[in-house]
Amino acid sequence: MHTFFDILQILLIPLASPLITGVIKKLKAKFQNRRGASVFQPYRDLWKLFHKDEVISQDASWIFRLAPCIVFAVTLAVGAIIPLIDLATFAAPAGDLLTVIYISAIGTFFLALAGLDTGSAFGGFGSSREMTVSALAEGGLLFSFLVLALVAGSANLFSIADSILTTGNFYLQPIVLAGIGFFIVLLAENGRFPFDNPATHLELTMIHEAMLLEYSGRRLALMEWAAANKLFVFMTLGANLFFPWGLMHTFSPGALAAAVVIFLLKIAALCLAIAFIESTIAKFRFFRLPDILFVSFTLNIVAIGLIK
């Protein structure tokens, strides 16, 4: 039975992630009083891209060619070691919050290198901005997890979820503060508003997209897919660590059903939140972004102060 869940754990993230982006797009369209594309549109986009030819810059090296695989593999790896539905999977022994953060940093590293590799001016500043944002987001990300770790007395993600689940919401305020801090980082790391516009066509304001301008065909598909994976991973982390209710402790059909339903509800709520934010505020000027990220960091510091 466990094997089944293990496989499910590994496959769920990549299989479901395009749907998440589709849902967010759909919700955004609704906010704009549009019908919008189908929630399955991202699957179609990927499917189409996988069937197209590729044009690769003649200046690109193996970094550019291998980066999609690495970036995608990294999201897979991170997806495999976070609590998704089941708290008792094979993935628990791999590591802790630092492992998750730093493994996902590998993806950022190669994404940024790929942006630089072709020598395109857009890719270059895309990388520069991406690294700026992610460097500044790291403090907030780490500290929001640290708040949880301090509450739970363990830095292992499964133990954190487990501990918060079993001890109840005794530390409500710190967790909420850390949750807000984490949400800001989620937006930053995944290139959402107000940090980046995922649907922009203007090269000069791009961050994430600018690094992908050179990609085409199946490598582009892999990159887009990896980005969707990453978003899903972050949403899962947010949903399952800060609000771990519904996670399955021991297997039973009822618990599984409840776990899946509650998980989906949480994700849906997060999608709604992201879509709401993206429809109601404008993208910030680049040099205002650090302020938001420092807000995230500060919130977490306050949260630590509240615990102590």
Partner: protein, 682 residues
């Protein structure tokens, strides 16, 4: 067998190897080729022997102590102590020196006929031997001798490329700073002598309880400044970014990889071994020093476009990280939490080892690039990944390791450092917690910024198109240079994968210190290669490695061999909205870091110089060239060193007024001195 290596005879052989290497290369001074092979082969042999000595001392049940020779000075004893801590540092030094020497065989060839290889080889051997002596000395005076030998030898190595006026200035700065540091160390040892009546470490240790707190604190401050100068703690770091670029690259690798660690070694030795117990604020000071060095170090690295200066600033950053581990160890010890202190110490030792491997790798890689392109300016490099694929891969490995990306070793030591800081937040009272919060916060930002910095460094040097003519004609370095770098890269990965076992060994190393005697319950446990920090957290390096490997392998295979194989791939020019893309349009390393620098402008005080040269002088409509230089004003010079220098100069000029040239005045001085002396004596 191991007993032989870790004995006085084994150590004498070790020193003899370097002595022969040094003497021989001086004798061969006329013949560059012979001098090169002689000095580097003996350095290799010596380092290899050094590794055996270190391993022998590591496995020895008791610390190996012996005294060699005699001296006319009663206080100076050539006494050695190879306990596990010393053995560990001996091992690190020998390991890095071994690979740097292999690298050097081919690297120094470009000095043939230009500068004497004989002197280079002479000082090189002396330098390594000096470092080994520093790590094994057990007498304060003997240590100072070794310390100065190491410093002076490295000074001569720094100024080896002596035709560049800048290198001479760098060497001057280096020796001045290192000598100032030594002055502080001497003061510290003299104070210790005053209190304990001996320069022998063992005597100081046993008399440690009798030292009054005031003296102890003074010794702490003095030796922190003294050793901190060598280690490169901000604001004592100013020599580092100057000296590293000036030195030949294998020397930079050694200096940055291991020499600055001797400062760390002595801090551990003096603070933990000789002076314990100590007040809480020592650890707090170290933590703050570490946090500041780590964060500022990486920020300055970002602002740098000289590849070796960038790496030098990263050394400062990593010293900061090591200090964070050490500082938490001290803090925990004064809070009576020895198990946590052990964790912190293991973190700092592990990071010492790791930084030595990947930083020397990076310097050697940078050396290979500079050797080919004859420039250190990253704005003139680029595109080298096609021309020097192996070097690029090696540099990438080093970059990933230093950016703490798993599964390379940098991650696991940083993980341990984080854990000890987390433990500090979790386990200490409401006042000290904030120190740990600041430390952990700065380490978190440091990690992110280091990643950004190495994206910049690797991207600017190896990716995109070459930005200068020289970069277009680079070639892969020759055999020995690669042979020196590959093992270091392999070690960076290997130390990562087996870091659980390495941490276990380091726990034994740290546990032999006297402060940890009598405390059971090791906090770190490596079962099946996993590192765990008590019940709080763990990470399993092999699992992480396998996870990443399998994920990458699966994706790669599926992508390239299973699905969608029939799509065509064509090559074309880079898309840039139809414009003619020239290498000058690529983002520069300055441009890459600009946004971060501007965000931190409150700390970094950037200076921006814009200059436009126009075709038409009057109307200034048609610019011929534009130049923007983004620099960082050196606040340490302007606020600390320059005023001090000015003060000294002013005093000097006052003093020189005394020498007025008027003989009447001179006679007056004599009479004044006479009257003054009479007045005070009667």
């Amino acid at each position: 067998m191991t007993e032989f290596f870790a004995s006085s005879r084994g150590f004498v052989v070790l020193l003899l190897l370097f002595a022969i290497g040094a003497a021989g290369s001086l004798l061969f001074n006329k013949n560059d080729r012979q001098a090169n092979y002689w000095s580097n082969l003996f350095a290799c042999a010596g380092s290899l022997w050094g590794m055996f000595v270190a391993i022998g001392a590591l496995v020895a049940p008791e610390p190996v102590a012996f005294t060699l020779g005699f001296s006319p000075f009663s206080l100076l004893r050539f006494s050695f102590l190879l306990d596990r801590l010393a053995a560990f540092f001996l091992f690190v030094i020998s390991l890095i020196a071994f690979f740097c020497s292999i690298y050097a065989i081919d690297y120094v060839k470009h000095y043939y006929g230009k500068y004497g290889i004989g002197t280079l080889g002479f000082f090189y051997n002396i330098f390594i031997a000096g470092m080994l002596l520093v790590a094994s000395a057990a007498n304060g005076l003997f240590f100072l001798v070794a310390w100065e030998i190491m410093s002076v030898a490295s000074f001569f190595l720094v100024i080896h490329d002596r035709d560049e006026q800048e290198n001479i200035r760098a060497g001057l700065l280096y020796l001045i700073m290192t000598h100032l540091g030594t002055a502080f160390i001497i003061a510290a040892f003299l104070l210790l002598y005053r209190s304990t009546g001996s320069f022998d470490f063992s005597a100081i240790q046993s008399g440690g309880a009798a030292i009054s707190p005031v003296v102890k604190n003074a010794v702490f401050v003095l030796s922190l400044i003294g050793f901190g100068t060598k280690a490169g703690i901000i604001p004592l770091h100013v020599w580092l970014p100057a000296a590293h670029p000036a030195a030949p690259s294998h020397i930079s690798g050694l200096m940055s990889g291991v020499m600055i660690k001797t400062g760390i070694y002595m801090m551990i030795r003096v603070f933990l071994d000789l002076l314990a117990p100590f007040p809480l604020w020592w650890g707090v000071v170290l933590l703050i020093a570490g946090a500041v060095s780590a964060l500022l170090g990486v920020l300055y690295a970002l602002a740098e476009h000289d590849i070796k200066k960038l790496l030098a600033y990263h050394s400062i950053e990593n010293i900061g990280i090591i200090l964070l581990g050490l500082g938490s160890a001290l803090t925990f010890l004064s809070l009576q939490l020895p198990t946590l202190a052990l964790l912190g110490l293991v973190a700092s030792l592990f990071h010492t080892l790791n930084h030595a491997t990947f930083k020397s790798l990076l310097f050697l890689g940078a050396g290979a690039v500079i050797n080919q392109t004859h420039t250190r300016n990253m704005e003139e490099l680029g595109g080298l990944i096609r021309l020097m694929p192996q070097t690029a891969l090696l540099f990438l490995t080093g970059s990933m390791a230093i950016s703490a990306l798993p599964p390379f070793n940098g991650f696991f030591s940083e993980w341990l450092t984080f854990q000890s800081l987390f433990q500090g937040i979790a386990a200490t009272d409401s006042r000290t917690i904030w120190v740990f919060v600041i430390a952990a916060g700065s380490l978190a930002f440091t990690g992110g910024l280091a990643l950004a910095c190495f994206v910049k460094a690797f991207g600017a040097v190896f990716l995109a198109r070459p930005r200068s003519n020289e970069a277009q004609h680079a070639r892969e370095p020759s055999f020995f240079m690669l042979a020196g770098m590959w093992p270091l890269a392999a070690l960076s990965l290997l130390f990562g994968i087996v870091s659980g076992y390495v941490a276990n060994i380091l726990q034994d190393v740290a546990g032999t210190l006297s402060v940890f005697q009598g405390f059971p319950s090791p906090f770190l446990l490596a079962e099946t290669g996993r590192i765990s920090a008590g019940g709080f957290s763990f990470v399993s390096p092999p699992v992480v490695f396998l996870l990443l490997l399998i994920a990458l392998f699966a994706v790669f295979t599926a992508f390239n061999f299973l699905f969608f194989k029939k799509q065509k791939t064509t090559f074309g020019p880079t898309w840039d909205c139809g414009a003619d893309l020239t290498p000058r349009m690529e983002i520069t390393s300055t441009g890459f870091a600009r946004s971060i620098i501007l965000i931190f402008k409150g700390i970094m005080k950037p200076t921006m110089l814009k200059s436009v040269e126009c075709r038409d002088g009057e109307t200034r409509y048609l610019p011929k060239s534009r130049e923007i230089r983004l620099g960082i004003s050196n606040i340490y010079d302007t606020c600390l060193y320059k005023p001090a220098q000015d003060l000294a100069l002013r005093f000097s000029l006052y003093a020189r007024k005394m020498q007025s040239g008027l003989i009447n005045m001179y006679i007056l001085y004599i009479l004044a001195a006479l009257l003054g002396a009479l007045y005070f004596s009667l």
